[in-house]
């Protein structure tokens, strides 16, 4: 059973993946996300931290046994159990498929759309419209896949659901207002089923779906 320290800043959706996985596996994770244990922007730039984690990025995990791993999917994988990772080679490959799908197909358009509404980045109309189309495409692919399935891989929660749910959190909370998300009933059903699992709720708290699409924060 993995045990160790997760370095991150508070409310980091990438860190949620490992924390939810640990709720299922029973892995003991101590979160260092605020001073004095960890100060994002300072601690992760110290020579000690960079020696362990040369990218200087979070989340980063240090096992009680000294094992070091960075990249959020790898940390989530490490603190998971076999059920979450996929027990057959088919399900294990499909877990990796959906983890990579989240990073390559969901995060780019979701960040493009949401960041300006949070004041993280400049608003760009054309990029935002393009991102909305990409998000629609992603949601229809998920909706199609979930037509006949309760979860993404096999018939129980896996790391595929954990990583894809976490990658969708921002858009579900910030911009997917009822009229926009209405065509994707299977995705809504799957997403709300997942976030209402006690293991997700223990980490995410109450996930309130967006009522009104946030506009960019000029």
């Amino acid at each position: 059973m993995a045990a160790g320290t997760l370095y991150t800043y508070p409310e980091n959706w990438r860190a949620f993946k490992a924390l939810i996985a640990a709720q299922y596996s029973g892995a003991k994770i101590t979160v260092h996300c605020t001073p004095p244990e960890f100060h994002f922007g300072q601690t992760n730039k110290t020579p000690e931290f960079l020696k362990k984690f040369p990218l200087g990025k979070v989340p980063a995990f240090e096992g009680d046994d000294g094992f070091l791993v960075f990249e959020s999917n790898a940390i989530a994988y490490y603190v998971s159990n076999d059920a979450l990772r996929g027990v057959s080679k088919e399900s294990a490959a499909q877990v990796i498929q959906w983890m990579n799908f989240a990073d390559s197909e969901i995060i780019p358009p979701a960040s493009t759309w949401v960041f300006p509404t949070l004041g993280i980045m400049q608003y760009n109309k054309q990029a935002t419209e393009h991102a909305k189309d990409d998000v629609k495409k992603v949601l229809s692919i998920l909706n199609e896949h979930l037509m006949t399935r309760t979860f993404l891989v096999g018939d129980r929660i896996s790391l595929a659901d954990v990583t894809v749910v976490c990658s969708l959190l921002w858009i579900f909370k910030q911009v997917l207002e009822p009229s926009f998300r209405q065509p994707y009933v299977n995705v809504i059903r799957w997403f709300t089923t997942c976030v209402n699992q006690p293991q997700f709720k223990a980490v995410l708290g109450e996930v309130k779906l967006c009522e009104k699409m946030a506009q960019f924060d000029a």
Partner: protein
């Protein structure tokens, strides 16, 4: 042939801009 196909790959060329912006945002948030 191969480079034409390669040209159709969807790459997140601007990823570094997003990474930098997100890092700065959370560094500010965390004072």
């Amino acid at each position: 042939m191969e480079t034409t196909c390669l040209g159709q790959e969807k790459i997140w060329f601007d990823k570094w801009r997003f990474d930098d912006a997100e890092r700065q945002f959370y560094e500010q948030q965390n004072g």
